[in-house]
C-alpha cells in the first residue's frame, strides 16, 4: 500500500513537471508541413506540439463545440474569420501563413503538358475537390471557368470530399487526371503535371488563428510567431506553397 502511494506520488510529480504540450489543429493538406515546422519549433523552444489534422470544416465544428485546440491552421480564410467573429478566436490574431498552389496531375507519363489536355477527349474522369467544401476545389472550378470548360466537363467531373481524396482518385488511376495541391506532388515525382498559373484562380489563402484556449499560453503565441519566421517560410515554400509577401 505504501509502495503504491509513493508510486502515485512519483507519477503525479512527473506529470506536473512536464509542461502541457501545445495543441494545434491543422487542415489535412498542411499537416505534413506543419509536422516539420513543429519539430523545428520544438527543437528551438523545448515546447512539445501535438497536432490534430482533419478537414477545415470538421475542425471548425469541433472548435465551435469547445475542442481544446490552442492554434488553428485552416485551409482557407473564411473559417478563421468566422471563429474570430464568434469569439472563439483571439481578435486580430489571424494571418495568412501559406498560399495554396494548384497542379493538374496524371499518373500517366507525358499525358499532361498544359491545359490542352482538358480540351481533348482522352479522359473519362477529371477529379477535383468538392468546390463547396475545399478551397482547392473552388480554385479548380475557377480555372475551369476561366478556360471556358466548366459546363462542358460537368459529366466528367468526380469530386473528392477533400484534396487528399482527390489525390487518391488520381493516384489509383480511377480518374485519369485531376486538380491536386502542388504540395501533394512535392514527394510524388511520377506521372505528368501542369503547374497552374496562380492568376487563373482566386488565391488560396490559408490562415492561422490563435484560439481562445491558447490566449494566455506563451507557447501558442510563440508558435504563431515562429510560423511567420524566415525558417518556417522557407519550409513552407519548399513544401510547394507560396508565402504571403512581407507586410
Amino acid at each position: 500500500m505504501k509502495r503504491l502511494a509513493s508510486l502515485l506520488l512519483v507519477l503525479l510529480a512527473s506529470a506536473s513537471a512536464v509542461a502541457d504540450p501545445l495543441h494545434v489543429a491543422v487542415a489535412t493538406n498542411f499537416a505534413p508541413t506543419c509536422r516539420t515546422i513543429a519539430d523545428a519549433f520544438s527543437a528551438a523552444t523545448k515546447h512539445d506540439v501535438v497536432i490534430s489534422d482533419g478537414s477545415s470544416g470538421k475542425l471548425f465544428a469541433q472548435i465551435e463545440n469547445g475542442a481544446p485546440f490552442e492554434v488553428f491552421l485552416s485551409a482557407d480564410a473564411e473559417r478563421t474569420r468566422k471563429l474570430e467573429e464568434g469569439k472563439r478566436a483571439v481578435a486580430g490574431s489571424r494571418f495568412a501563413y501559406a498560399l495554396g498552389r494548384l497542379a493538374l496531375w496524371s499518373t500517366r507519363e507525358g499525358f499532361v503538358r498544359d491545359e490542352g489536355v482538358l480540351r481533348g477527349d482522352a479522359f473519362q474522369h477529371l477529379a477535383i475537390a468538392n468546390p463547396a467544401l475545399a478551397p482547392y476545389g473552388a480554385a479548380a472550378r475557377d480555372v475551369l471557368q476561366r478556360l471556358g470548360l466548366w459546363e462542358r466537363l460537368q459529366p466528367k467531373l468526380v469530386r473528392g470530399e477533400d484534396i487528399g481524396q482527390t489525390f487518391q482518385f488520381v493516384s489509383t488511376g480511377n480518374a485519369e487526371l485531376g486538380f491536386v495541391a502542388l504540395s501533394q506532388l512535392a514527394v510524388e515525382k511520377g506521372g505528368s503535371r501542369w503547374q497552374v498559373p496562380p492568376d487563373l484562380h482566386a488565391p488560396i489563402e490559408q490562415q492561422a488563428v490563435l484560439l481562445m484556449p491558447g490566449r494566455d499560453d506563451p507557447a501558442a503565441r510563440a508558435f504563431l510567431d515562429f510560423l511567420k519566421s524566415e525558417a518556417a517560410r522557407d519550409l513552407i515554400e519548399r513544401a510547394g506553397y507560396g508565402v504571403p509577401s512581407r507586410p
Binding site: H125, A132, G160, E161, T172, A175
Partner: protein, 225 residues
C-alpha cells in the same frame, strides 16, 4: 433541397437493390456455412464477418484499388465489356453488397442452425426433394431470420458512408447518397439542411427497425407447426 430529395431517392434505390442481391447471395452461403463440416467453414465465416470490424474507409480504399481500371475486379469487368465501376451506381451496389454482407448472412445462418437437420430429414423421408425441402420446410420456419437479415441489410446500406466516400466521387443522381449530402451540409456549415436531412434519415431508419421488431414479436408468437 431538390438535390437532397434526389440523394434520398438514390439512397433508397441503392438499399433496395443491394438488399435484393444480398438475399440471393447470402441464402446459399448461409445454408452452406450452417451445414458444412468443411475446414473452410471458419475461414469463410471470418471473411464474411470482416466488414463488421474493418473501418469502412479501409474497405473503401481496397475497393477503390480492386474496382479501379488497374485492379483485378475492374479490369475483368472492363474486359467483359462493363463500364468503369468506380464513380458509378453499379460500383456502389458492389460496395454495399460487400459492406452489408455479414448483416444478412449471419441472421440467416443462425436461422438455419436453429432449424437443425431433423425437420429436413423428416421431410426427406416423406419424399420431399431438396428444392421442396427448402421452400416448404426451411424457408417458412426461418422467415423471421430472413426478415431480420433483409432489414439489417437495408438499414445498414442506408447509413453507408465510408465506402461511398471512397469510391463514389459525389456525382449527383449517380453516387451522391444521403450520408454524403449530410456530410457536405455539415462541412459547408449549413447545419439547418444537415439537420433536416439527418432527421429524415433517422426517422426512416427508426421506422424500418420498428417494423422488424414489431413483426418479429408477432412471428415469434405464432406456434411453429
Amino acid at each position: 433541397m431538390n438535390g437532397d430529395i434526389a440523394a434520398l431517392l438514390l439512397t433508397l434505390r441503392l438499399a433496395a437493390i443491394s438488399t435484393a442481391l444480398l438475399l440471393l447471395l447470402a441464402t446459399p452461403l448461409a445454408w452452406w456455412v450452417a451445414r458444412t463440416q468443411s475446414r473452410w467453414k471458419a475461414p469463410i465465416e471470418a471473411a464474411v464477418a470482416l466488414p463488421l470490424v474493418l473501418p469502412p474507409t479501409v474497405l473503401g480504399f481496397y475497393l477503390l484499388l480492386a474496382l479501379g481500371p488497374h485492379g483485378p475486379v475492374g479490369s475483368l469487368w472492363g474486359a467483359l465489356g462493363g463500364g468503369p465501376l468506380v464513380f458509378s451506381f453499379s460500383g456502389l451496389v458492389v460496395g454495399s453488397v460487400i459492406y452489408s454482407l455479414p448483416f444478412v448472412v449471419q441472421p440467416i445462418q443462425a436461422g438455419f442452425e436453429q432449424l437443425g437437420r431433423a425437420p429436413l430429414e423428416a421431410a426427406a423421408t416423406l419424399g420431399a426433394g431438396p428444392v421442396d425441402r427448402f421452400f416448404s420446410v426451411a424457408l417458412p420456419q426461418t422467415l423471421r431470420h430472413f426478415l431480420a437479415a433483409a432489414v439489417l441489410g437495408f438499414a445498414h446500406t442506408l447509413g453507408e458512408f465510408g465506402v461511398v466516400l471512397m469510391i463514389g466521387g459525389n456525382i449527383p443522381n449517380r453516387t451522391r447518397v444521403v450520408s454524403i449530402a449530410i456530410y457536405d451540409h455539415v462541412e459547408t456549415l449549413d447545419y439547418a439542411a444537415a439537420h433536416q436531412l439527418a432527421g429524415i434519415l433517422l426517422a426512416i431508419s427508426f421506422a424500418v427497425l420498428l417494423l422488424v421488431f414489431a413483426t418479429n414479436r408477432r412471428l415469434r408468437g405464432t406456434p411453429v407447426t
